[in-house]
């Protein structure tokens, strides 16, 4: 059983698609490629799966891509603070240096 998912590069990063796909590698195998302005995801079930089940899990893959996109946004916005916090947490400097 297999299906094809595509994600416009204008909206999603390849990284987000890969991270989303990774979470489903217990049930699915993925072939990811770039096709013009689209990220193409060829999805194959690892074990027997009905078409309903495949539709259901690919819907979840799509949602996960959305979530990964959200995570990217959060990470980008908070990267600086995160580095500052970790740097100070592991340094010997006092808090007053902030």
């Amino acid at each position: 059983m297999s299906a094809v998912l595509s994600f416009p590069t204008a909206v999603y990063s390849v990284e987000a698609v890969k991270r989303a796909a990774y979470r489903f590698t217990d049930r699915l195998s993925f072939e990811i490629s770039l096709n013009g302005e689209e990220i193409r995801c060829s999805v194959t079930a690892l074990a027997d799966m009905t078409s309903e089940d495949l539709a259901s899990v690919t819907a979840r893959v799509r949602n996960e891509v959305l979530d990964q996109d959200l995570r990217e946004r959060i990470a980008a916005e908070t990267a600086v603070v995160r580095n500052v916090v970790l740097a100070y947490a592991f340094s010997a400097a006092g808090l007053q240096d902030l």
Binding site: T25, E77, T78, V81, R82, V85, A89, L98
Partner: protein, 483 residues
């Protein structure tokens, strides 16, 4: 009254643009989202609130705004003290790392008179003195123990049946105490023993030197004896008698028990808890079956998967909570240490739920033959022929060689959850740990493949379950008493 300002005068303005602080999120089964910050504080949000929050649409009058602000998910105005507090908390969580190796296990002998199918070391008969640790090995191992800078040192005697070489236990205790007169660490001893062959004289020695006794109790007699066969079929009887004698001689608070879960344990969670209650214990550690040693050889491990064990665990936990609600204080220890990670500023000392992993830097094991392993599980793996986590030998290698070996540093770095696939973005990462030995044993890779990892599945289910339990006020009150 004109002299006093209204709340609106102090609250952030409607148009306030708040700043996001680092956080991760996970979807829960009921459609809500869990957000966790850098140090594992959490808030439960509706999905719509999460989206609003990330896109800076959340208004200060929203019910979740104050929680997100107080728990350092967002910062508004000039509140740099929030950053200070986050730094302090991150530092506190990580502070155990600086202590380095606190748990040092000594395998005094591989000999044992039990023949447990799940045993994680070779079965050897009582006759083979070739499998005892020598004083020379003990001396070199002790020298390594005190190379660790940890202010607290726990020396744990393991085996086989460690008491079968009690002479060496005595030797190590006295040598360690001697060295510690100068080192002045907080030094503690534990002996892991099945108690079947432990004499009163040995127990008096434990009392004299403040050695804690840790024994095995798998459940009611029939289950325990099936799990732990010995000639005479009286393991349970001896364990119970040993517990009584040990409490009487060493002290009632100085005797603990651990259970091991087997296929036969499943479905009997309440009975096992009842057995612990009956034997006067104040809590139980509902452990998963480890995939090492004889467990794999005798297919005990394949016999059930993570879900079957989770069923067992949740039934046990539910039963324990019922006991608590009825007024009987009884703790489930795994939940207790996870709750500590969720609710307190501190990290756990439990080596299997830490990141960086507890191998080597949290615990070390010195085998009877002087071989040094990164953990007890690493030793079990070696007994099965896989020496991936063998770090060196006390007779041939220095402490520096051992602690900087690739066998240790490689898996530590690779398995670090902060950078592992799926873990690095996981909302539950602050509560979880790296277990490179488990993943190597079950999946052939120290990093592991988390989508198919039993460790991941098991822990994530427990985290979600505990978060759900904490929402109910009376249950929360009970669980708070466990941390």
């Amino acid at each position: 009254m004109s002299r006093f300002g209204a709340l609106a005068d102090y609250a952030p303005a409607l148009e306030t643009r708040y700043q996001l602080l680092p956080f991760r999120f996970a979807n829960l089964d009921d459609g809500r989202c869990l957000v966790t910050n850098l140090v594992g504080e959490y808030v439960l949000l509706a999905r719509a609130d999460l989206e609003d929050f990330v896109h800076h649409r959340l208004v200060p009058s929203s019910p979740v705004y104050d929680d997100l602000k107080a728990k350092h998910f967002l910062v508004d105005g000039d509140h740099s003290v929030a950053i200070d507090l986050l730094v302090l908390k991150a530092r506190t969580k990580a502070s155990r790392l600086a202590h380095f190796t606190g748990l040092h296990m000594f395998v005094t002998t591989l000999r044992c008179e039990h023949a447990c199918p799940y045993c994680q070391v070779s079965r050897q008969s009582e006759d083979r003195a070739a499998f005892d640790m020598s004083e020379a090995t003990a001396d070199r191992a002790l020298a390594m123990v005190f190379r660790s800078p940890s202010p607290t040192i726990k020396i744990e005697f393991q085996g086989g049946e460690s008491a079968l070489n009690f002479g060496l236990v005595r030797y190590i205790v006295e040598r360690a105490e001697d060295i510690n007169r100068h080192e002045r660490r907080d030094l503690a001893f534990v002996i892991a023993t099945n108690l079947a062959i432990v004499t009163d004289e040995m127990l008096h020695y434990c009392r004299e030197h403040d050695i804690l006794v840790s024994t095995s109790l798998d459940g009611p007699a029939d289950l325990h004896n099936k799990n732990r066969p010995r000639a005479g079929r009286d393991s349970h009887e001896r364990a119970v008698d040993g517990i009584r004698r040990a409490r009487a001689i060493v002290g009632r608070d100085r005797v603990s028990a651990l259970m091991t879960t087997t296929r036969d344990s499943l479905g009997r969670a309440e009975e096992i808890v009842d057995e612990y209650l009956r034997q006067g214990f104040a809590g139980i550690f509902l452990r998963p079956l480890s995939p090492y040693g004889f467990a794999v050889k005798t297919k005990s491990y394949a016999a059930y998967d993570a879900d079957a064990w989770l069923d067992f665990y949740f039934r046990g936990l539910r039963y324990i909570l019922e006991l608590n609600r009825a007024g009987y204080r009884f703790i489930e220890h795994y939940a207790s240490l996870v709750l500590g990670k969720m609710l307190t500023p501190f990290d756990t000392g439990y080596v299997d739920l830490r990141s960086p992993a507890g191998i080597g830097i949290g615990a070390l094991i010195y085998n009877y033959d002087g071989e040094v392993y990164a953990s007890d599980e690493s030793r079990m793996l070696a007994e099965m022929g896989d020496k991936s986590f063998r770090l060196g030998n006390v007779h041939r290698d220095t402490w520096e060689d051992i602690m900087t070996s690739e066998a240790l540093l490689g898996p530590l770095e690779a398995s670090f959850t902060g950078s592992a696939p799926m873990c690095s973005e996981c909302a539950f990462e602050p509560y979880c740990g790296a277990d490179p030995v488990f993943h190597h044993a079950t999946q052939g890779d120290a990093v592991g493949h988390k989508p198919t990892s039993a460790f991941c599945r098991r822990n994530m289910a427990i985290f979600k379950h505990l978060i759900g339990l904490l929402e109910e006020p009376e249950t929360r009150r009970i669980l708070l008493g466990w941390i």
